[in-house]
């Protein structure tokens, strides 16, 4: 009996390959987008974890120089002699690879390195790195491939790295956790070094969490939209098999057995769909990972492997989520079968006709959610609440949409009997179409919201580049002597020269960069502030105040007139807060004189130059000072490079946007096909009364067009609200930036066009089916329907 029933159930799919395809595709898309994002996230996290485990970053306190990035070998020896248990590390970046030289004999046991190929650094001169690093360094040095090494890093004995780069110094000293009880104070032995506590080292995982949260949110959104397809397809499959289920039961199939086999049947299909989805997710992840790696590196400086490995946990999470999603849709149908009287007439539209009361009830719930969202916008704090705000906003709007659409349809224009029937019929179809419309609303509003955020960011970023890259030429020299000669040379020509003086130092307990600037016309005219005293530059120039970037200000709850520590024992007030995008680190800008006084060893080797004749000045500097061509960069090339980095940064978001819109179009197709199959009994009498099949088909297209227009009209304010929340709440919490919001009507119109096109394509199929429906099929309605 089991085989017979299962064969009958599965025969439906065999005879409806299109529905089988859409069912599997719906599940695959939902699972694929979700697991793809998860794969990207887990790959990135694995990279950070590997980096932390291998390099000890974030785990151990370290000794770092107060100024610069070099520690002499003798200081290390002095410390060891004095009883300090420290382990030396030399970091050298070359060809985009970070060489980390460690001393295997003194490294803490928690991070002792031994390669997966069996070598240990103690007995080898080999350099270890992953395949990517090996290929980058091909021709320079031979790298032994080791998969366990984090991306972008080459590890070797410190002696090997020193020989390779002809260095004799160290970069930092790792403090072993177990120290002798008595040891002299650091200031006595190495006054130029400071202890950097482990938690102060840029915690890459924490910094990047917000980025991954963004991706996860996208993954969930895509999964939710994909589930609409699964819901529609399962609904369609059950509606079309309602008659079969009744027949099976009347022929003696027990209800419990039937339900068990329906669950088995669906389970098999969900498994196939989920596996397809995971394969699809792997492909999506493999395609997007290089962009994500670029984004994370661009935003946070963290390295992520550009290659993907297949992990058991996201196979399982993908399959689990597919079963959960399909299970939710299936549970409703199982309940309906259980409640379906054995002898009920086959009324396929019965499920779709929800009462107006129910739609109103759902809308009230939606309005409550929107209220929560508004409340969170006013009083919420923290990233979690920022995402809750967005969640309530999207879900609330989705729940209100069907009711709002019906209300808007009340204002639909037109006279005449056909038009009246058309709008009345459209209103009646709303319950059946509402899920697809919600999917479209979410996809379009997410597109509007995210593209507004990205485009606003772009406008701000371009203006930021104009401020920061005001000098027409940038010259970098290698030696201090050349630097002073260059400055003298330029000043003699009466050019405005802007030396770039910088040191790294913790500010308010966090890693930051301190800049010394020569206050002049350029800074006074170009820089725009988020908040400032009226005489900012005068105060800065006199060394009475500093300027801090937005990240540092917001993270530490500081603003204009608050004080920051910029040197041991010296606190100065903040005269202005400046927007600084694409950089996670805190920055403090002070006057040149004060900077040189505080950090006399710091030397400017880079200069910005204001000139109207870049070509001739470039030639002159090269000829007179023998500065190589590679040391001179003009402003235009930096700008275009920065913009390129920016575009790459948001390539992932753009790709996910397009995918989400595609999935929503697919959801619409499924809903329209579901309804088309059930609507023959409604359309047949209209056809019999004199409307041609072509006209009915055209009316179906017009309906889809009208509904997608309504959805688009609702999606614009929702998308803008989403953009506001992203720019003013999420960005501040996640990245430390608050961005001005700009509007892009042409982009929205284009997006609306795309959404309407997607709907029309989805509606075309059932409309063509209607036009081509043989009269006999329509006549059957009158002979067979009870």
């Amino acid at each position: 009996m089991t085989n017979t029933i299962l064969r009958a159930l599965l025969s439906y799919w065999w005879r409806s390959p299109l529905q089988l395809f859409t069912f599997l595709m719906g599940l695959a898309l939902a699972t694929g987008l979700w697991s793809g994002v998860q794969a990207i996230n887990s790959e990135a996290r694995t990279s950070y974890d590997a980096a932390a485990a291998t390099l000890g970053e974030g785990q151990f306190d370290q000794l770092v120089p107060r100024v610069g990035d070099q520690i002499s070998q003798s200081v290390y020896i002095d410390l060891r002699r004095a009883g300090w248990l420290v382990s030396p590390i030399l970091d050298v970046t070359f060809k985009g690879v970070r060489f980390v030289g460690i001393d295997p004999l003194t490294t803490p046991t928690q991070m002792s390195f031994s390669s997966d190929s069996g070598f240990s650094l103690e007995d080898t001169d080999l350099i270890f790195g992953n395949a990517e690093v090996a290929s980058l360094l091909e021709g320079f040095v031979e790298v032994t491939i080791d998969k366990s090494i984090p991306p972008g890093i080459a590890i070797a004995d410190i002696g090997v790295v020193q020989r390779l780069f002809k260095r004799s110094d160290l970069s930092r000293l790792m403090i072993i956790p177990e120290q002798p009880i008595r040891r002299p104070d650091l200031v006595e032995i190495a006054p130029d070094l400071v202890v950097q506590p482990s938690q102060q080292i840029a915690d890459v995982a924490a910094l990047t969490d917000s980025f991954h949260l963004n991706l996860t949110a996208f993954g969930f959104l895509s999964f939710a939209v994909g589930l609409f397809i699964v819901h529609s397809t399962i609904g369609l499959a059950f509606e079309q098999r309602r008659g079969m289920i009744r027949t099976l039961r009347s022929l003696g199939v027990p209800l419990s057995k039937l339900l068990a086999l329906v669950i088995v049947e669906m389970g098999l299909l969900v498994l196939v769909g989920a596996i397809l989805g995971i394969v699809m997710g792997y492909t999506i992840a493999a395609m997007l990972l290089p962009d994500v790696a670029a984004t994370v590196e661009g935003l946070y400086g963290a390295r992520v492997s550009g290659t993907l490995s297949l992990r058991l946990e996201w196979w399982l999470s993908g399959i689990g989520l597919a079963f959960l999603g399909a299970g939710m849709a299936l549970a409703v149908r199982i309940w309906q079968i259980m409640q379906m009287p054995l002898l009920s007439a086959v009324q396929p539209r019965a499920w779709a006709i929800a009462s107006a009361k129910r739609i109103r009830g759902i809308a009230i719930l939606g309005m409550i959610f929107l209220g929560f969202s508004g409340l969170l916008a006013l009083i919420g704090t923290g990233l979690g609440q920022a995402f809750a705000l967005i969640g309530f906003l999207l879900i609330g709007s989705a729940l209100v949409l069907p009711w709002l659409t019906i209300k808007l349809l009340d204002f639909a224009p037109g006279k005449g009997v056909v038009t009246s029937w058309f709008w009345a019929d459209t209103r009646q179809q709303m319950p059946g179409l509402s899920l697809a419309l919600i999917a479209l609303l979410l996809a379009v509003s997410a597109n509007i919201g995210v593209s507004t955020m990205v485009s606003s960011f772009r406008v701000t970023f371009v203006s930021f580049l104009d401020q920061r890259l005001a000098p027409e030429l940038f010259v970098r020299v290698e030696e201090e002597k050349t630097a002073s000669a260059l400055e003298k040379y330029l000043l003699e020509r009466e050019l405005e020269v802007l030396p770039l003086l910088t040191v790294e130092r913790p500010v308010v307990g966090q890693p930051a960069k301190l800049y010394g600037v020569r206050v002049g016309r350029t800074y006074r005219e170009s820089w725009q502030f988020l908040g400032a005293d009226p005489d900012v530059w005068d105060q800065v120039s006199k060394g009475e105040a500093v300027i801090v970037n937005e990240q540092l200000a917001r993270r530490n709850n500081l603003w204009v007139s608050d004080e920051v520590d910029i040197a041991p024992g010296l606190n100065l007030p903040i005269a202005a807060v400046v927007g600084d995008y694409g950089n996670p680190q805190g920055q403090v800008v002070m006057g040149e004189l004060l900077f040189r006084k505080l950090y006399p060893n710091a030397v400017a080797t880079s200069f910005g130059i204001r000139t109207t004749d870049t070509v001739n000045l470039r030639k002159a500097i090269q000829a007179d000072l023998k500065v190589p061509d590679s040391g001179i960069i003009n402003q235009a090339s930096i700008k275009s490079m920065s913009l390129e980095v920016f575009e790459r940064t948001f390539a992932v978001t753009a790709a996910l946007n397009i995918l989400t819109l595609g999935v929503a179009g697919f959801a619409m197709l499924m809903s329209l096909l579901t309804l088309a199959g059930m609507r023959t009994p409604q359309l047949a009498p209209i056809w019999a009364l004199g409307l041609t099949r072509t006209r009915l088909g055209v009316l179906e297209l017009a309906r889809a067009l009208g509904l997608s227009l309504i959805v688009f009209i609702c999606a614009v304010p929702l998308g803008l609200a989403l953009a506001w929340a992203l720019l003013n709440v999420v960005n501040v919490e996640a990245f430390g930036w608050q961005l001005p919001m700009f509007f892009f009507p042409a982009d929205y119109a284009f997006l609306g066009g795309l959404a309407i096109l997607a709907t029309l394509i989805a509606a075309a199929w059932p409309a063509i089916q209607m036009v081509q429906k043989p009269p006999a099929a329509l006549l059957k309605v009158f002979s067979n329907e009870r």
């Binding site: 009996m1 085989n3 017979t4 029933i5 064969r7 009958a8 025969s11 439906y12 065999w14 005879r15 409806s16 008659g243 079969m244 009744r246 027949t247 099976l248 039961r249 009347s250 022929l251 003696g252 199939v253 027990p254 209800l255 419990s256 057995k257 054995l342 002898l343 002979s783 067979n784 009870r786």
Partner: protein, 218 residues
Amino acid sequence: MLLELKDITKSFSGVDGDVEVLRGVSLGLDAGETLALTGESGSGKSTILHISAGLEVPDGGSLHLEGVEINGLGEAERANLRRSEVGIVFQQFNLIPSLTVEANIGFQASLAGRRDKTFESELVEALGLKDQLKKYPELLSGGQQQRVAIARALAVRPKLLLADEPTGNLDESTASAVLTAMLDLVGRTGAALMVVTHSAALAEKMDRRVRLKGGVLL
């Protein structure tokens, strides 16, 4: 007695409250006997048929099939009885659209675990379905679909065959051909037949005829 209905009552809820469809109907059917159940629309004919098949549960009275009280059985036991002892021919045929004619004919017998392909061939031959076996139901005419439904119901060799307006959707000559084949096969299998019909011609061909009016037998 194969089937025995005693004092069966049944009501359905309607817009203006409960509607009493059957008011104490008692009816018996012997093995091999044929019976026509006639009456006006809404008189309760189909309800008696559905109750006899165990598809509907009466509000009152008793129902025995081969001496077994059906009312006392659970859903699964009634389903078991239906698939092995009862063949039903629905007015709308109720074929499984995604299975071929051949698979439809053998379907109930497969469910009951007693498929007999030789007997199915005889049914196919007798009902003139030989050329339709590989087709799907949607490609058949109404008469052909009705014959497939009859073949399916008989292929399980039921003790009781119930038919609801089996010729209601057919033209006169097709109806006559289908009826002749059905009666012939019922005779060969020894099944009892209860037919619900409006057709006087069909009723005439049964061993016995009973008429329902207002929920009671006349």
